[in-house]
């Protein structure tokens, strides 16, 4: 399979003519789009199958922007979402290919260029891959793309044969005329004529029974190149005359370079030193030379006002802020009048780094009043614009070669790696690949915020009568936008807190911003449900204990208004043998979650030895994500998501000392390893509800189910992560 060689559209207001050349000259249909035309064609169906989400009013779909068909029948899809391991090149290709009626082995997905007018999400108009939203946003759009392109090909055949298009059918890349001896024309033969036809204004999507790819476990399109070393990530870029740089940015947020002693550095040949306001970089013929040069420098930093901040001060500040009233997220009834026994608790989660396996990097060539750049980003258009802004030029002067990501997890929703690389490249003659060391990647991250969730609940006759939940944290929205919150409320911080799955009659959620000093906060896989589900599902377990009830039975008794979640809980209890006997110091814990448009119930089984060491034995999840595109891909996302969440729960914490992040590499910022990974069983509930997100539900389900299992195993309730094995050692638990 030839694929994944990033194409390099030369963007201009006139269109993408060079994209066609890059694809081998077979450009007959598609990609020859004038940006100004983008708003004209609109191919919205008037009727949709059940559960297929509607496209927002005013959103126009132009199939030519997504599909190109070569004379030999090879099909290229421009995919608006970034492939970072979640399988989106495959799932989005399935969505187009099914209604287009071509087999996946003819399809090559390539990244779409950063033009939001053509490829922006129907919801936001922006290009961005995150929040488990790719399939949810593009499900209908891409099916319409496929159906529209198919209708145009059928019309082209009907014109050629002078027959009614209604008498024709398609099968795997061919239009067939059964009434005339079964004559056939391939899509490749028809593409040129089809591309000149108007985009249909009403198309019909395939009925569910006719789907061949959607909902079927297909092999991924990106993985063959990933097992033989040929897949190219941003860090793999090679160019004539390419130099390699590595950098040290101020270890304190807002700090500056005070002094650089280059006495030893000057003894090394062939290196260029770049000193900027807050960055020192060394450019050399290869990474090792650059790294050796950087290590030879003695850099003194002026940390500025945050240079004396330590983690205990940050926790103190967060706890103080969390005691104040916040902005209203949602309210039902009156929690102050709820009757019953009251439970007041608070849960805390630490700052976390993303640590994708591919360290941050970007390759940039500043030249001729413009710039060419190569790299992987979760926000293609924002990266493109950011480079232009640094250079003070129009984005049209920037050519962006977009690559697959060696992990995103939210890290590449930010563009600091782009702006830093461009600033360094401004000082370099020729192309330069700027590669972060792992230490620089971890210490210069934008971190998952630390959270404190303050909870209060009342319990009467075995039922929860009141539920108050205050979320206190730094706001990623504020940090990214630089703008204050409207009314003090960060709506993005509420997911996983406000759904009221348990139908509590008096229910109140609020948010208070607690901007941390000395650390920039960013989106991290699982986003708000990380802390909100952790707090809510820990509290439900604490309430079940207080009520003297089994945690599963207690949840089921509260789930009558959320039947899909109830069904998932019932199923997972059965699959995980809930209630069957376990050895001493082994426990099971449950988490029932609705987030990212997906229902998931998860049971962890964990063993805690007498020294407090936790071993996760088994994870079982039942997921209801409505319409599923690639069932095997969904299972993989839940499996991997659970590992990602368990890793954080067991080991993850970023701490600050003298304004500097203390963790530096995988020796002190631990990842779960294969010998620590549990067995994982994931079951699917299939239906035709609207598609839910699948990249993050497993992540956020892991920690709550694990702490609940630990509580069952030891009697110790952990309200803070990562887990503290000292609290779980037998000498402590025996005295309880």
């Amino acid at each position: 399979m030839t694929m994944l060689a990033p194409i390099a559209p030369s963007l201009s207001r006139r269109g993408f003519l060079t994209a066609g050349a890059a694809l081998g000259g077979g450009l007959l249909m598609g990609f020859r789009i004038d940006v100004a035309q983008a708003a004209v064609p609109s191919a919205l169906p008037s009727a949709l199958p059940p559960g297929v989400p509607p496209v927002p009013n005013g959103y126009s779909i132009n199939p030519n922007a997504f599909v190109a068909i070569a004379p030999d029948g090879k099909v290229t899809f421009q995919i608006p979402q970034e492939e970072m391991g979640q399988g989106v090149y495959t799932s989005l290709s399935q969505l187009i290919a099914d209604d287009l009626d071509v087999a996946l082995d003819r399809v090559t997905p390539v990244p779409a260029p950063p033009v939001e007018a053509l490829y922006g999400s129907p919801g936001s108009g922006r290009m961005g891959t995150g929040g488990s939203r790719s399939v949810r946003s593009f499900y209908t759009v891409l099916r319409v793309v496929g159906a529209s392109a198919r209708a145009m090909l059928v019309q082209a055949a009907a014109d050629r044969w002078q027959v009614d298009p209604k008498t024709l059918r398609t099968d795997n890349g061919e239009v067939i005329d059964d009434a005339n001896g079964g004559r056939r024309l391939s899509y490749g033969e028809l593409a040129q004529a089809a591309s000149a036809l108007p985009v249909p204004t009403d198309v019909v999507l395939k009925a569910d029974k006719d789907l061949k790819l959607i909902g079927k476990p297909v092999h991924r399109l990106d993985t063959p190149a990933k097992v033989n070393g040929t897949a190219q990530y941003g860090i793999d870029v090679r160019l004539p005359g390419l130099r390699i740089a590595t950098l040290a940015a101020s270890p304190v947020v807002g700090g500056k370079v005070a002094h650089v002693d280059d006495g030893e550095f000057k003894k090394l040949p062939g290196l260029q030193l770049v000193v900027l306001d807050d960055i020192v970089a060394v450019v050399g013929p290869h990474f090792w030379a650059a790294k050796t040069g950087l290590d030879a420098l003695d850099i003194t930093w002026d940390g500025g006002p945050d240079g004396k901040i330590d983690s205990p001060q940050l926790w103190q500040a967060l706890r103080e802020t969390s005691a104040k009233p916040g902005a209203l997220g949602t309210n039902k009834g009156d929690t102050t009048k709820a009757e019953g026994d009251r439970l007041d608790v608070a849960y805390e989660l630490p700052f976390l780094s993303h640590a994708p396996m591919e360290p941050q990097n970007f390759t940039v060539h500043v030249k001729d009043g413009g710039c060419e750049m190569w790299g992987g980003s979760q926000v293609q258009a924002a990266a493109w614009n950011a480079a232009a802004k640094v250079l003070g030029i129009k984005p049209e002067k920037v050519v962006f070669h977009n690559y697959m990501l060696g992990g995103g997890f939210g890290r590449r929703l930010d563009v600091d790696m782009v702006t830093k690389a461009v600033r360094i490249a401004q000082k370099v003659d020729g192309p330069v690949k700027v590669v972060w060391t792992r230490e620089e990647d971890i210490t210069q991250d934008v971190y998952r915020p630390a959270y404190r969730n303050v909870m209060s609940a009342t319990l009467k006759d075995g039922k929860v009568t009141g539920w108050s939940h205050r979320i206190a944290a730094g706001s990623v929205a504020v940090r990214m936008s630089g703008k204050p919150l409207d009314g003090g409320l960060d709506r993005g911080a509420l997911e996983g807190a406000t759904e009221n799955n348990y139908g509590v009659p008096n229910f109140h959620v609020e948010f208070i911003e607690a901007k941390p000093r000395a650390i920039n906060v960013g989106y991290w896989r699982g986003v708000a449900p990380n802390n909100n589900v952790f707090a809510s599902e820990s509290l439900m377990d604490e309430l079940a204990l207080k009520a003297g009830q089994d945690p599963v039975a207690f949840r089921l008794a509260h789930l009558s208004s959320t039947p899909r979640l109830k069904a998932a809980v019932e199923r997972v209890a059965k699959e995980a043998n809930w209630g069957s006997p376990l050895p001493s110091r082994v426990g099971r814990g449950i988490c029932a979650q609705f987030a990212f448009g997906t229902f998931i119930a998860t049971i962890a089984e964990a063993e805690v030895d007498t020294s407090g060491h936790v071993r996760v034995r088994r994870m079982t999840s039942v997921i209801d994500a409505g319409r599923v595109v690639n069932p095997d891909g969904m299972l993989a996302q839940v499996q991997g998501g659970l590992i990602f969440g368990l890793t954080a729960a067991l080991y993850g914490e970023i701490t600050i000392k003298d304004g500097r992040v203390e963790q530096r590499n995988f020796n002190d910022y631990r990842m779960m390893r294969i010998n620590e990974a549990p067995s994982i069983d994931v079951y699917m509930i299939e239906n035709t509800e609207a598609p839910g997100g699948i990249g993050e539900p497993g992540v956020t389900a892991a920690a709550p189910s694990l702490v609940n299992a630990i509580a069952a195993a030891t009697g110790v309730r952990l309200r803070r992560l990562p887990i503290d094995r000292d609290k779980l050692a037998e000498r402590k638990t025996a005295s309880l």
Partner: protein, 151 residues
């Protein structure tokens, strides 16, 4: 300026003896399938074979290699075991982002060459040095077992 034998070909490397093999492969020979992950032999993304044994190229000085045969992910499919492992990986779709998988496949191939029928403990011992941030461990374990029983 050592000469290295990489995937059956000799390469004269114009770099100091203390440079780790990883950078000779990636930045000089142009074999970018071997990945940089941590630089301190903690993650396994840079795993290659030296005379068939898995080593971390990010800390291996090129001056210490001598005439030992270096095999990278680009050529491991030319070996019977390597091809079997790659097929097993694709059959059950182990890979997600894929960045660590060159190293995972090199480590798994070395394991199966040394221990054709590994049990779970063998897999743990051979693979615990390879981090996968996407969390594909369940499938890695299964794929190794599948490769072990395939012809």
């Amino acid at each position: 300026m050592p000469t290295l034998r990489i995937n059956g070909q000799s390469h004269l490397i114009d770099a100091p003896d203390d440079m780790p093999l990883l950078w000779a492969l990636r930045d000089m020979v142009g074999l970018t399938g071997t990945k940089f992950g941590c630089g301190i032999a903690q993650c396994g993304a840079c795993t290659v074979h030296l005379d068939g044994k898995a080593v971390r190229s990010c800390l291996l000085p090129i001056g210490s290699i001598g005439n030992q045969a270096i095999t990278t992910i680009e050529a491991i499919g030319d070996t019977a075991t390597g091809a079997k492992v790659q097929k097993a990986w694709l059959d059950i779709e182990v890979v997600q982002c894929g960045y660590c998988q060159s190293g995972q496949i090199m480590a798994a191939t070395a394991l199966l060459n040394a221990t054709p029928k590994p049990d779970d403990n063998d897999i743990d011992a051979a693979m615990a040095g390879n981090i996968c941030r996407c969390g594909t461990y369940v499938r890695i374990r299964q794929a190794i077992k599948n490769a072990a029983v395939s012809a």
